[in-house]
Amino acid sequence: MIHVRGLSKVYHRGDPPAIDSIDMDIHNSEIVGFVGLNGAGKTTAIRSIIGVILPTSGTVSIDGSDIVKEKAAASMNVGWVPETPVYNHDASALTLLKYFAGFFGISPEIAERRAMELLERLSLSKQADRRVMNYSQGMKKRFAIAAAMIHEPNNYLFDETLNGIDAEGVELFRTIIRDLRKDGKAVLLSSHILSEIEDSADRVIIIDHGKIIDSISIENLRNKATTRVEFTVSNIDGSITAALRKYGEVEIKGSTIFVRGRDIQASAINEDLVKLGYKVNAIRSETLENYFLNLVRDQK
């Protein structure tokens, strides 16, 4: 379990805080999405929680150990996948994983077995003897997942992990974090796209300008969030509003019709419009992102 209270970080004196009095809890058997626009403070918060940067104020407790005062004990129970993994160590993937494992007192034999299992799972076993510094960015990301899991910690922090990995990797990653939840681990998963984590997260924490602006369960989020579908129709007329009102709020701007409602399906509206003889040129649908963006806009 990760327990964060009043976490703030000011990089340079006089600058506004990158994160400001953040409070959050990530419970065991829970996947928490950590969402914010670029520069919102997600990475700073995660790096402060993991101990890579020192917080200006506030506390981070990992399974009861303070990340600053009891650094070694706290680090025993947390794994981290950075947004941009850097591995300039002149060593193969297998050697590097064994090296990392050594910090946790894992014997070389067990470390090698675990490392090979993880590399196999992350489709890197054929590259086990290749130097990590020569890996592609996507492969480095997969390796970083293995490095975070080598000591089997209870808590995980994934920073924009889905960025830069292929579709197969995304699917694999989602399976991994669901398995982690099943095993009772606490997982924080950051992203700047809410829909990216919608399928996996149990709860979402939204951050903007270094402050937590909402913490909401996915279920509540789905209830609160309206879907907005946008159609571009060439032969628009006055009766179209009445035809679409059953789906929700309708707004017409030139040749564009906006339909805003809960649980509406763009395909169903499109079907109706075609049946009524309208020529639909383009469809654009926005769902959870709307909620997220509106929330952020409201803050401004």
Binding site: A72, W80, N88, G102, F103
Partner: protein, 484 residues
């Protein structure tokens, strides 16, 4: 603590680090070897035949026993005629006698009719029996007054140097024992002893056996162990419990300690340069590179602290630098034996080891500081190198120039103020460990000051050099604790 030792071991067993350590050690040994070889060019192994001898008096009958040897190897030379001329210095009359050396290099010439021993002397010379030997025979002979003849029944030991391989030290001593022919006096137990007393007053406190028993006409070759750091080492010989030929026949051996120091000084800048670069390189490979590239963050998330990680890496660098400095010291000691037949004083070896280590580790400690505080790759690489060159080359070159502007000069007859300023500047320069320790041990720079107290100055110098390591390390310890 577990993470500390784990990291420490990982660092010192890293392939790059091992290669760097081996290459640096090899370079240092090559440097010391070249400086020693330059100081002690090998001489020709053989330049000619030499001889030694003893004149005996058996109740008016005189014998001259001689030994002819190859002065490149000490081996006996046979079939060389040893000719004697008995000269009466009053009436200038002379009588000649001659005898060839046997296969053992010995000859025995009987000299009859010495009617006036007080005014007679013997002049011995070598003569070749063939053209090949003629070119090898060294000119000069032995001149002995008849009154200096050794009484019959006593033994004589003559000590010669041969195989002068080095201009700094004789490599071998030849001890030749004579007895008057046909009158053996029993075996002789011969010991030798060293003394540093140039006045020739030699206390016999400890003796080493020379290597066996002498019998009639015996030769023993040995390499003296010169282990004192004085310019002269005397060797005396004790035969059957009695010191023989106290003066002037003791052998004054030239100790190369001072010359070793000069030889080492000739490569001081190169050694300092290599050790400094080694310190910078190890600091970069072990710490700064990871700080610069971002790999450090992958380590700091492991169960170790910032200060702990920095400390384990700094200690591993220090350990390797101690190893390299020790190898350098050991090589210097062994090269002293191999090239000079000289057992380099421990103080000198410790001076080399300590100065090399302190210089490189101080540079590494400062470099670690840059690694902790500076983020830019250019700064983290270039600044420590620039600082090192500034301290090693620019500062020592500029300070005397500045002092000369104020009319202060060093060297022979230089001012005390100049020496003291140079010394003070050295104390503020971590690359000055050689000059600080060397000055307090060997050079008179500090002795010009009335404040000079040898032991105090040496220990202050040592502690001051160590501070150049400790202060940056402690500073870095606290900085790294509070740096991202």
């Amino acid at each position: 603590m577990k993470a500390f030792f784990y990291e420490f071991l990982k660092r010192i067993t890293e392939k790059k680090v091992i290669i760097l350590t081996i290459v640096s050690t090899a370079l240092l040994i090559a440097l010391v070897y070249s400086s020693y070889s330059y100081s002690a060019p090998p001489s020709e192994p053989h330049s000619g035949y030499d001889f030694t001898g003893a004149l005996f008096n058996d109740s008016g009958s005189y014998y001259f026993d001689s030994y002819v040897f190859n002065d490149g190897s000490g081996s006996p030379v046979s079939n060389i005629a040893v000719s004697l001329t008995l000269v009466n210095e009053i009436n200038q009359s002379s009588v000649k006698f001659s005898h060839c050396t046997n296969s053992d290099g010995f000859s025995n010439v009987s000299i009859n009719n010495v009617s006036d021993p007080t005014n007679c002397c013997i002049i011995a010379n070598m003569n070749a029996n063939n053209a090949n030997d003629a070119s090898s025979i060294k000119p000069g002979g032995i001149h002995i007054p008849a009154t200096a003849a050794i009484p019959y029944g006593q033994s004589a030991i003559r000590i010669c140097e041969f195989s002068l391989q080095s201009k700094l030290a004789p490599s071998c001593i030849l001890a030749v024992s004579f007895n008057a022919t046909g009158h053996p006096s029993g075996n002789l137990m011969v010991y030798y002893n060293y003394s540093c007393d140039t006045a020739g007053v030699i206390p016999i406190e400890k003796s080493d056996i020379l290597g066996g028993e002498f019998t009639n006409f015996s030769v023993i070759k040995f390499s003296p162990k010169i282990s004192q750091q004085y310019y002269y080492t005397n060797i005396i010989f004790i035969v059957n419990g009695k010191q023989i030929f106290p003066t002037p026949d003791y052998l004054a051996l030239f100790s190369p300690a001072g010359d070793l120091e000069k030889a080492y000084e000739s490569v001081y800048y190169e050694v300092a340069f290599i050790m400094g670069i080694l310190g910078l390189s190890l600091a970069y490979i072990s710490y700064n590179k990871d700080r610069m590239s971002g790999s450090y963050q992958e380590l700091i998330v492991r169960p170790s602290t910032r200060a702990g990680l920095m400390t384990s890496r700094f200690f591993s660098v220090s350990f390797l630098l101690i190893l390299v400095s020790s190898m350098e010291g050991l090589a210097t000691y062994l090269l002293g034996i191999i090239i000079f037949s000289f057992y380099t004083p421990l103080t000198f070896i410790l001076y080399i080891m300590f100065s090399s280590f302190v210089l490189s580790d101080a540079i590494a400690a400062i470099s670690f500081l840059f690694g902790t505080r500076i983020r830019s790759p250019a700064g983290i690489v270039a600044l420590p190198i620039l600082l090192f060159f500034l301290l090693l080359i620019i500062v020592p070159a500029i300070v005397p120039e500045i002092l000369s502007l104020f009319g202060l000069y060093g060297g022979v007859g230089g001012s005390e103020t100049y020496n003291l300023i140079i010394l003070l500047v050295s104390f503020f320069n971590p690359t000055s460990s050689f000059s600080i320790i060397g000055s307090s041990l060997y050079r008179p720079i500090m002795k010009v000051s009335s404040l000079y107290v040898p032991d105090v100055v040496i220990w202050i110098s040592v502690m001051y050099c160590v501070l150049w390591i400790i202060v940056p390390y402690i500073g870095n310890y606290f900085l790294s604790k509070n740096s991202d």
